[in-house]
Amino acid sequence: MAENANALVGDTASLSINIQGRDEMVIVTARGAARELSRELGFGIVDQTRVATAISEIIRNVVQYASEGEVQFRVIEENGQPGLEMVVVDQGPGIADVERVLRGGYSTGNGFGRGISGARTLMDDFELQSEVGRGTRVWMRKWLR
């Protein structure tokens, strides 16, 4: 496994993909990027779908509440285990009650209020930082089993 991970990790190239358009165009673009990357990494179809759904939830919040943002994808490795790290940052209005949002079922829009809590369940590691008036940062990881 360590050998395999070595083959996956490594910063040999970097690309910035910019997309401007209607909310759903932005969401599907990020989702396609995440799905294809997790497929290439060797994730099975269910984990690919988990990753694509999680990024979909978080990017939907970005386009809805902050209208612009940034995602960072990184192939990682810990103790010989490869994984995918996704960090999503926006400079939007921020979230006042992070605890409540993490518990789920709370929405200021007309959603289910299951976006953030759902993404957290779908990923292995999840951290949400937010400051009102400053913005929001979501950090997520999924490990290849």
Binding site: E24, I27, I45, Q48, T49, R50, T53, R114, T121, L122
Partner: protein, 117 residues
């Protein structure tokens, strides 16, 4: 994303091809309302074969649509839900309460026929 509504026998088939949005669904509901009245359709089948990801937002829109159809007194069946999508819906804490689901178009239509009085 314009959502096409087809007709097979006395059933309306809604084939979701991409990302759903609030106004797509409003348009779809009006379209269905009209078609249901005009054709006296006996059931609606929602086909999700082409859908690779259903997040909580899209889950809500699907549920709303099914609820509207039910209010009109006709049965709905959702077919083509991919196994991986079913898994993530459950993990998201969503389900499609009161919506009958079936494997594919044929089986969905068979079920709808049994619902006809």
């Amino acid at each position: 994303m314009n959502i096409p509504v087809l007709q097979i026998e006395r059933f309306l088939i809604v084939s979701v091809q991409g990302e759903l949005k609030d106004n797509d669904v409003t348009a779809l509901q009006q379209n269905l309302l009209e078609r249901l009245r005009r054709t006296e359709a006996a059931g609606v089948l929602i086909d999700l074969t082409a859908v690779e990801v259903v997040d909580s937002y899209m889950g809500r829109l699907l549920r709303d649509t099914a609820a509207m159809i039910r209010l009109m007194g006709v049965p709905t069946v959702v077919v083509g839900l991919r196994p991986a999508v079913a898994v993530t819906l459950v993990e998201l804490g969503l389900d499609l309460p009161g919506i009958h689901t079936d494997l594919n178009l044929e089986r969905g239509l068979t079920w709808l026929r049994t619902q006809m009085r």
